[in-house]
Each structure stands twice: as structure tokens, then as C-alpha cells.
């Protein structure tokens, strides 16, 4: 019970395991400060899902925020003209407002790959996401979608930009009925309506899904090819078993332009891993390059907590005024050597759950019957 690995909670040990995994692939750990200038976040509020953040002023009156996100800080820290691809990983607490509730501290682990992103980098990041989910040790699914494909389809259907959010909302909620109604209302041509509905109806194994799309323009064809290539590679190395295509996995169009993905673990009610290609964010921040990355919210693993430990300690050791403290320390040494945990108390605490009780008698711990 007293070994370091056993004392760690699953999210704690996992954060080390994941860091080791990312290090193996050449991702360098990035340690960031607890807060950043508020401006950084205010300029990119949609990237953070429009969430509020905790702000305060420093001694010069500058408005600061407790970091709600790590990606923005990492991108900011990089030089504007990247000659090489930068691979960075992190393990940080972020502070975000929960829906309808106060702020929550979330332990995030993740990685970013920034520079001239090619097909290799994309599959490297995806396979690291897949390995990360696998490490959690419960049934999992990694879902892949493509913002570029959806955007191209909306362009081909000549949907008004003001209606993009509505359409994305229906895809996100797999709401066929209202998508159909939307297509009728906006008089979208038959093939276009069919494509928009396919984003909702087609999901699952990639081989089954990709062929259901008929490209309406060159951009769609390009995006479909990219999805096919990526899945083909993942399948060649044999990690496509838990990978699905699902377009309800969506993110903000202003920042994400290509592949996006989410990871689900059985027993956790929402996605635990989220990532994608976010060239537009990098470019908005003045970087002349592409970027792809993901983050895992390790807090969500609380949902997987096994049965509560039956005992708080193995041994409850009772002493009285006559006991020599040195004898107690000696007795504890014996117990802990046998990997038993001990709580030393004068009286039996009402709420403590213990396996056995010992009392100190004549300088020795005796089992209490």
C-alpha cells in the first residue's frame, strides 16, 4: 500500500506515463507560468469556446488571467518564422468555467506539433492520441472528422455564412430532422442536401464512411483524399481498430481547418481527448506555419474510479500516556517494512476504517482481540 506507484492516483500516474510516451517521440516538456496577459485570451475567445476566465491585475495595472488554455501560450512562445517543426508536450492545470457552475481546475496533458505539418506529422499525432487513450486501460474510441471537408461542403451548397453555426449545430447533435428542414427551407439542391445529411448518417469504420461522400467541389475531393490517406496509413500500422470517422466531432471553424479528433473512454460521459489541425490560430497569431495537437483532461478519469478502498489504513495503533514514543516509532518501522500503513491514535477514531487494531503493551505492539 505504501509504494510510490500505488500511492499515486490514476490520473497522477497517467500524467507521468503520458509524458514519458511523448518524450519518447521527441516532444519536449513545456513549463508555463500560471497566468498570462488577458489580451492573449481575449483576442482568441472563440478558441476557448467563449468561456469566461479568472482575471486580476498585477502591480502595474495590467490585466492578467489564470490560464484557461495551454495551446495559446505555446504558440505565442514560438518564433514567427519556424524553420523546423517544433514538438512540445505539457502537463498543466488550467482554469475554466463549467457550464452553469463556477470555475474548475482541470489537469491537462497534451502535445503540440508546430511548423510545416505534413502527412507524417498528422499520423504521428493521431497515433500518439490513440496510444494515449489505450494507456488509460478502458475501452476507447478515437473519432476523426475534417473541418475542411464540412466547410467545403457548406460552400458547395452555397449556404449563407450566417447559417454556418446552425448547420454545424445540427451535425454536432446528429439532428437529421432539423437538417432536413433546413435544406428545404434554404432550397438546397438534392445532391447538396444529401451530402449535408451524410455528415450525420455516416459514421463508424472509415472504409464504410469515406465512400459515402461524393465530392461537390475540388476542396471536398482534396479533404476526402486526405482522410482516406490518413486512415489507410493508420490501418497499415494496425491501429485503426478503435478509430472511427464521425463528423459530429466538431470545433470552431475560425481556428480549425483540417483534421480534428476526439477520444472517448467507456464510462466517461463526454470526450476526454480533443485535438486537431489549427493552422488558422497559428496564422492569426502571426506564425507562418501549420499546427496540430491535442489535449487530454485527466480529471475526467474520476468517472472511472474503482470501488472505494475498503480501508483507510491497514493498522490502527493505539497507545496511552505510559507508552514511550520511541517504542511507537520502532513499531511503525516494523509495520511499514511489511508494506502496511499505520495510523497512530490515542483513541479509536469514529470514521477511520482499519484492517486490524494493535495496542502498545510493554513497549511492543500487540494485536488487539
Amino acid at each position: 500500500m505504501c509504494d510510490i506507484t500505488e500511492a499515486l492516483k490514476r490520473d497522477e500516474s497517467l500524467s507521468f506515463e503520458l509524458r514519458a510516451l511523448y518524450n519518447k517521440y521527441g516532444y519536449k516538456l513545456f513549463k508555463m507560468s500560471k497566468f498570462e496577459a488577458y489580451d492573449l485570451y481575449a483576442q482568441n475567445k472563440e478558441f476557448l469556446g467563449g468561456e469566461n476566465m479568472i482575471t486580476f491585475t498585477d502591480n502595474k495595472g495590467t490585466l492578467l488571467a489564470l490560464k484557461p488554455d495551454v495551446t495559446l501560450s505555446i504558440i505565442k512562445s514560438l518564433p514567427n518564422d519556424l524553420s523546423e517543426v517544433q514538438k512540445i508536450c505539457y502537463n498543466e492545470n488550467v482554469y475554466r468555467q463549467q457550464k452553469g457552475a463556477g470555475f474548475k481546475e482541470i489537469l491537462q496533458t497534451g502535445l503540440e506539433c508546430v511548423g510545416e505539418i505534413d502527412l507524417y506529422h498528422t499520423v504521428e499525432v493521431l497515433s500518439l492520441a490513440e496510444m494515449s487513450l489505450k494507456k488509460i486501460g478502458a475501452p476507447y474510441v478515437l473519432e476523426i472528422s475534417h473541418m475542411g471537408l464540412i466547410l467545403a461542403a457548406m460552400e458547395a451548397c452555397e449556404i449563407d455564412k450566417r447559417d454556418y453555426d446552425e448547420v454545424l449545430g445540427y451535425i454536432k447533435a446528429k439532428n437529421q430532422g432539423q437538417m432536413r428542414a433546413f435544406c428545404q427551407r434554404e432550397k438546397i439542391f438534392a445532391q447538396g442536401s444529401k451530402t449535408l445529411l451524410t455528415f450525420i448518417t455516416a459514421f463508424g469504420q472509415w472504409q464504410k464512411v469515406v465512400n459515402q461522400f461524393v465530392p461537390l467541389n475540388a476542396k471536398m475531393a482534396e479533404a476526402i483524399d486526405e482522410l482516406k490517406n490518413i486512415c489507410q496509413i493508420l490501418s497499415t500500422v494496425g491501429i485503426d481498430k478503435n478509430i472511427r470517422l464521425d463528423f459530429s466531432c466538431l470545433n470552431d471553424l475560425n481556428y480549425y481547418n483540417g483534421i480534428i479528433f476526439q477520444g472517448f473512454i467507456q464510462g466517461v460521459p463526454h470526450h476526454i481527448l480533443s485535438g486537431g489541425r489549427y493552422d488558422q490560430l497559428a496564422q492569426k497569431m502571426g506564425k507562418n506555419c501549420g499546427a496540430i495537437g491535442f489535449a487530454i483532461s485527466l480529471n475526467e478519469l474520476d468517472y472511472l474510479a474503482k470501488e472505494k478502498e475498503k480501508y483507510d489504513v491497514d493498522v490502527l495503533l493505539i497507545y496511552d500516556e505510559t507508552t514511550d514514543p520511541a517504542d511507537i516509532l520502532k513499531a511503525i518501522a516494523d509495520f511499514t517494512q511489511n508494506k502496511e500503513s499505520v495510523s497512530v491514535q490515542k483513541n479509536i477514531p469514529a470514521k477511520l476504517k482499519y484492517r486490524t487494531v494493535y495496542t502498545m503493551k510493554n513497549g511492543e505492539a500487540k494485536k488487539y482481540e
Binding site: 457550464k99 475501452p139 474510441v141 473519432e143 447533435a173 446528429k174 439532428n175 437529421q176 430532422g177 432539423q178 463508424g204 472511427r244 459530429s248 472517448f264 473512454i265 467507456q266 464510462g267 466517461v268 460521459p269 463526454h270 470526450h271 468517472y303
Partner: protein, 214 residues
């Protein structure tokens, strides 16, 4: 626990109607009709577990994964905006979200409009889109009396037949949106119980199409 399909149904008439549809679709659980006061019912054979919840709580059970799927009115979904899949319009529990006011009501556009409602979020969004300044008065029931007692100018509420409005000398001023019951699913549960949910969806679809053809 996990290999069962957990279904949250809204307590009341709507829930009973929906259960009948689910049973017809092959997801029956005879015990539920026994009239017992139990809230949870299981069918070991088909591996489904039903439970009754307060209608406004159904999206919460589903969003947080305590239920894999559930049935909730569009009004509740619009009000709480849960992050769930809205898989199907079940075509039952049909009504509309309306603005109603005393008969012969004439809006005074110079003043802030006082709106009494159980659905503050829906009311706010509706008037925000019109840039109308409003004062929301959140009530939990008997909304119809608010304009009569001059607590509010209008109400935003669900109208099914309009009888309650008529009896209280109110009338519909404007329809905000049509409402019906929707089948919703937890996003994570949907990935891991996909076959069962797909089977249910298909059967329900067939039932609904048949009914529409009638």
C-alpha cells in the same frame, strides 16, 4: 451496469406514450406496467433498464451519462442546451412555445416588456433576436395568472390545445417554435452501445413511418 442500455423517460403521460413506442420497437420491460411505485425497471433478457425522471431532469441524466438515451421535449432541450445527440423527433407530445397575453393586448413599445415564464433562456433568446428590452420573471407554475394579476405584460409558455389560455382570458400573440418529444443520447454512450441504439432507432423509424402513412 454497463452492458445494459439505460433509458431515462419523463414521468407522466408523455413517458408512458413513449414507453409504448419503445416496447413496440422490441425494447419492452413488462414490469414497468405493473403499476408499482418503483422508479427503475429492468429486463434481463433484452438488457434494457428504464427509469422515470422528472421531465426537466432527463437531459441531465443523459448529458452526464447516467442514462445512455432519454426522451425530452424540445422546450427542455432549448432551455438547458445540453451537450447531447438529438437523434430523432418522436412526433409525440406535440405543442408549441408561444407568447400569450390577455385578449386584446396591445404592446407598449416605449416600456420594458415584462415576461413571465418557466423558460427564461428561450424567452431571452427570442426577444434578444428582436432587440427588445425585457424583464424576465421566472415562475415555476401557473404562469397564466401572471398577466391577470399584472405581474407581467405577457407570458412565454407551452400551448397544447389553448384551453387553459382561453379559460384565463388569454390568447396567443406569437408562436416562437413548434415543440415535440425528442430522442436524445449521451455522446460517449452512443459510441459504446451503438448497435443497440441503432437497432432501436431503426425500429422507431419504421413505427413512425407506418403511423404517418395511416
Amino acid at each position: 451496469m454497463s452492458n445494459y442500455l439505460n433509458i431515462a423517460l419523463p414521468k407522466g403521460r408523455l413517458g408512458e406514450k413513449v414507453y409504448a413506442m419503445f416496447a413496440q420497437a422490441g425494447f419492452d420491460c413488462a414490469e414497468i406496467l405493473s403499476g408499482s411505485r418503483k422508479l427503475i425497471f429492468e429486463n434481463e433478457e433484452t438488457k434494457v433498464r428504464y427509469f422515470w425522471a422528472k421531465p426537466t431532469d432527463v437531459p441531465i441524466y443523459v448529458e452526464r451519462g447516467a442514462a445512455d438515451i432519454g426522451v425530452a421535449g424540445k422546450d427542455i432541450l432549448l432551455e438547458y442546451d445540453p451537450d447531447v445527440y438529438e437523434l430523432m423527433d418522436l412526433n409525440v407530445g406535440i405543442c408549441r412555445m408561444c407568447v400569450a397575453a390577455p385578449k386584446g393586448y396591445h404592446e407598449d413599445t416605449q416600456r420594458t416588456l415584462r415576461v413571465a415564464t418557466k423558460f427564461p433562456h428561450i424567452a431571452e433568446n427570442f426577444y434578444k433576436a428582436k432587440s427588445r428590452d425585457i424583464d424576465i420573471i421566472k415562475l415555476n407554475g401557473s404562469i397564466e395568472i401572471a398577466p391577470i394579476l399584472n405581474l407581467s405584460d405577457v407570458i412565454v409558455d407551452i400551448v397544447e390545445t389553448g384551453t387553459t389560455l382561453k379559460e384565463n382570458n388569454l390568447e396567443v400573440v406569437e408562436t416562437i417554435i413548434p415543440i415535440s418529444a425528442r430522442l436524445i443520447a449521451n455522446k460517449s454512450g452512443f459510441k459504446f452501445k451503438d448497435e443497440k441504439i441503432a437497432a432501436l432507432l431503426q425500429s422507431l423509424n419504421e413505427i413512425l413511418t407506418k403511423e404517418q402513412e395511416k
